[in-house]
Every structure is written in structure tokens, then in C-alpha cells.
């Protein structure tokens, strides 16, 4: 069955350089640097990546960071809490716009 997403394509991510190498090289160098141990641990960064992956709903990233967080020793409760953070921010982002809606409604109401 043909689908837009193929899990095998994740392994080919590096091949985007075939069409434009200098930019791909810059991106992957940057990517590698970002995920190194720094002011945040590699484990903390992986949890952030997992949460963002859910927020942007990227199936490749969800697969990749589900494995990566598990390999880095995160517990089931920790990975789920990370996703709740993403959900809370997404939900909050919707709801906080309610203030804008209320402002407008009040503006046009008697």
C-alpha cells in the first residue's frame, strides 16, 4: 500500500544532501551540535525533541525520539509527561486566544 509516510525513509534522512549538499552539511553539523551534552543534558534534549515531535506531529521524529529517549534511560512516565507538556502548551495556546476572542466579542457588544 502506498502512503505518504514510509518508516524506511527515516533512515535515508542523510540523503537530502544529494540535491543540495552544502546546506545539508550545515544542517546536520548544526543538528549534531544542538544535541550534544551542554547546559542541558543529552537526555533532557531528547525529551524536549520528543515533546516537540508530538506538537508538530512528525511521525519520523516521534519514532526517532521514542527510541532515543528510551535508549537514554527515560522511563515510560517521563516520556508521557513530556508529551503532556506539549499537549498543555498546544491546548493553552488555543485557549489563550480565547482572550482575544473575548476582547473582540466585548468590543462589538453593547
Amino acid at each position: 500500500m502506498k502512503t505518504y509516510y514510509n518508516p524506511e525513509d527515516l533512515k535515508k534522512f542523510g540523503s537530502i544532501g544529494e540535491f543540495q549538499k552544502p546546506l545539508a552539511d550545515k544542517f546536520f553539523d548544526y543538528y549534531g551540535e544542538v544535541f550534544k551534552e551542554g547546559a542541558l543534558t543529552a537526555r533532557e534534549k531528547s525529551l524536549i525533541a520528543l515533546a516537540v515531535a508530538h506538537a508538530i506531529q512528525c511521525p519520523y521524529c516521534i519514532d526517532a525520539y521514542s527510541v532515543d529517549t528510551t535508549e537514554k534511560g527515560c522511563t515510560e512516565a517521563q516520556v508521557m509527561e513530556a508529551i503532556h507538556v506539549a499537549a498543555a502548551i498546544r491546548g493553552g495556546a488555543t485557549l489563550v486566544h480565547g482572550v482575544q476572542m473575548m476582547n473582540k466579542v466585548k468590543e462589538i457588544s453593547m
Partner: protein, 355 residues
């Protein structure tokens, strides 16, 4: 609940070493082009793989165990009867004295279940007072029966270094891999070891823990995980230990069965190959180790032992014909399972190996 029978007890086809090797070398099982491990070594000028200096004399005292862990490469369990006898132990002890190996590593099954275990430790201490003796203790054995309650004191008396598996610092993940109730008993056993001084900085009594992944994934950075283990075990249970070793699961025996049953085999092998690290390959433990089976046969490592791949040194395949010069010159036998020791930061009985 998971069956407490071993693959051997269930007469499972994966109980046989020949069938395991067949699976590991069958491309149709992965559906992917997994390169031959020998070719990988050739590409980095490491084939044939040769020993460096043989420092570790590892002895498998038998396959009997009080646990039936899901990942066990020995297929150990209560229904295994293979056990080392006194004559074989005596020969091992003579060799340990004669060749002054710096490390004697006792493993199993649960080595303590061999009724001659304590006698053997005492013999080793007599013939080689300065060597490091390591026991791979599964922890729960200490609480399994009254006669084992004093094991921490025994280890202390003979300055035995204790290395114990604790696949995770929480109950759920540990028990999934090692069986119900294992985490709670392991915590109690660790506290007993701490009570006699194991794991305390100044005691000189070394207690190391082993992490191995509870699933089809690779271990994390050893140093980072050690910090977490120390913080969690200390805060929740008051436990202290020296080092954490992270170990990759080998695709053999019960873990191979798990990979095949769960549909993870192909991806896991691919993951190991992708993570092949020449630095780890150069430092694999078979280069400085001899592994002795319960019946006295000699192997390059405990994994080759379970696959019945005896050392290539034809003149010296059994301790009764031990020829150290021949063993030092031998070619180490490798096969597809060896990718497990060369992935990422590498894996050995002492954890990561890449320098």
C-alpha cells in the same frame, strides 16, 4: 506470567547453538543486507582478530540459576543441570596459580548455586592471593535460601568484587526482564551488601551494577546513566555502589528468541551494524579473555561458549590440554553475534570499551 522454563527445558529449536548460528547467518531472516562481521573487521585491518594480552580468566560454573531472565544468553534457569565439578575446578585453580591471571571472573547461571563455589573461591585466593576475583551475582540468590544469607560476608572475607545486574532503577522495567519480585529482592540484597561495606568509597569492597536494555534498543552513555542510577537508588533506597556498566544485549539464545518473537530482529541487527564502531572493535573483551565452560572447554568469550564455538587453537581446546603459547597466538572466532560487542561505545563484561 512468563514461563519459568528455559528454551532447553521447552525443547525449543533456539536452544541449539547450530540453529542459532543458522538464524544469525540467514539473510532471509533480516530481509536486509547485513554484512559479514569478518568483512567489517577486514575493512579496518582487524581480521583475523588476535588476542592482545590475556589477563582475564573467566570461568562459567554452571547453567543453573534461580531466575529465568528474558535476555539471558546462557539460557540459564532452575531446570539446567550442567555444573562444573571439583576436578575441573581444581585444574582451573592450578592454571590460575601457574599463569597468574590478574582477573578471575566467576559467572554462570548463578555461580553460587554450584555447591563447590565457596571452596573454589578459597582455592583461587590460596594460589593467587593478589588477583581480582569477580563474581557475577544476580543478587536474588542472596535471599533465595538461608544458606546464602551470609554470602556478603563471604565475599568480603575473600575480597571478591561483586558485579550485579540491575537492568533499571525501577521495579517495572527490571521485573519485566528478570521476573516478578526481582527488583524488590535485588534492592534488599544490595542493602545487605552495603551493610558489610560494599559500595562504600573507602572500604575497598567493590560493588558494580550492570544495566542492559529491557527491549530491542541500545544502551545509553554509561557515565550519564550511572549518575541517574546513583541519584535514584540513593534517594529511594539508600543504596550506594561504585560503577555502572552498560551492556548491549547479544542476539543469541533467549534474547534472540525475544527479537524474533517480537518482530524486532531485523531492525535490531541493522541497528547494531549501523552503530559498528572500529574503536570498540579494537578493544573487544575476547582479546584479553579466556572463557572456560562448565565442562572445561575453552572459548574466546562467554557468548562463543553458549554458541559452542570453541577456541580455534586445536592443540588447546580443553583445560586438560592447556597450552598458553598456542592460545596467545590463536585467531579469535567471530560470527554475526559479534556486532553486539562493537556497537556504539562497545560492550563487554565491564561495560563500554571504546576509548
Amino acid at each position: 506470567m512468563e514461563s519459568l522454563k528455559t528454551l532447553n527445558g521447552k525443547h525449543h529449536e533456539l536452544a541449539g547453538s547450530k540453529y542459532q548460528l543458522k538464524v544469525l547467518n540467514d539473510e532471509s531472516k533480516t530481509g536486509k543486507n547485513i554484512p559479514a562481521f569478518t568483512d567489517k573487521l577486514l575493512s579496518i585491518q582487524l581480521f583475523p582478530l588476535k588476542p592482545t594480552e590475556i589477563e582475564i580468566f573467566q570461568v562459567n560454573l554452571g547453567k543453573m540459576c534461580n531466575q529465568v531472565c528474558q535476555h539471558c544468553h546462557v539460557d540459564a534457569g532452575p531446570d539446567r543441570k550442567e555444573i562444573m565439578d571439583m576436578e575441573t575446578m581444581q585444574t582451573c585453580s592450578n592454571l590460575i596459580g601457574q599463569y597468574r591471571f590478574s582477573v578471575v571472573d566467576l559467572t554462570g547461571g548463578a555461580p553460587e548455586l554450584n555447591p563447590l563455589f565457596r571452596w573454589f573461591v578459597e582455592q583461587i585466593r590460596k594460589v593467587n592471593p593478589t588477583c581480582k576475583i569477580i563474581v557475577r551475582c544476580n543478587l536474588t540468590i542472596i535471599l533465595a535460601n538461608k544458606k546464602y544469607y551470609d554470602l556478603p560476608e563471604f565475599y568480603k572475607t575473600h575480597r571478591v568484587e561483586v558485579v550485579s545486574s540491575l537492568p533499571f532503577y525501577n521495579e517495572g522495567r527490571t521485573d519485566k526482564q528478570r521476573g516478578n519480585g526481582v527488583f524488590k529482592d535485588s534492592v534488599k540484597a544490595l542493602q545487605l551488601l552495603n551493610e558489610v561495606g560494599y559500595g562504600a568509597a573507602a572500604s575497598g569492597l567493590i560493588l558494580n551494577l550492570v544495566y542492559n536494555p529491557a527491549g530491542a534498543f541500545l544502551p545509553p552513555n554509561q557515565e550519564a546513566l550511572e549518575k541517574e542510577y546513583k541519584a535514584e537508588l540513593s534517594a529511594k533506597y539508600g543504596i550506594s555502589f561504585n560503577n555502572l556498566f552498560t551492556i548491549t544485549n547479544m542476539p543469541i539464545s533467549r534474547y534472540l528468541n525475544y527479537l524474533l518473537q517480537s518482530g524486532n530482529y531485523s531492525d535490531y541487527m541493522e541497528k547494531l551494524v549501523t552503530a559498528f564502531n572500529p574503536g570498540a572493535a579494537a578493544n573487544v573483551m575476547c582479546r584479553n579473555t579466556l572463557s572456560i565452560g562448565w565442562n572445561g572447554y575453552i572459548y574466546d568469550c562467554d557468548f562463543n561458549q553458549m554458541l559452542d564455538l570453541k577456541v580455534e587453537s586445536n592443540a588447546s581446546q580443553h583445560i586438560n590440554d592447556f597450552n598458553f603459547e598456542s592460545l596467545k597466538k590463536r585467531n579469535i572466532i567471530v560470527n554475526q553475534h559479534c556486532y553486539g560487542c562493537t556497537a556504539g561505545a562497545g560492550s563487554s563484561c565491564g561495560g563500554e570499551v571504546a576509548k
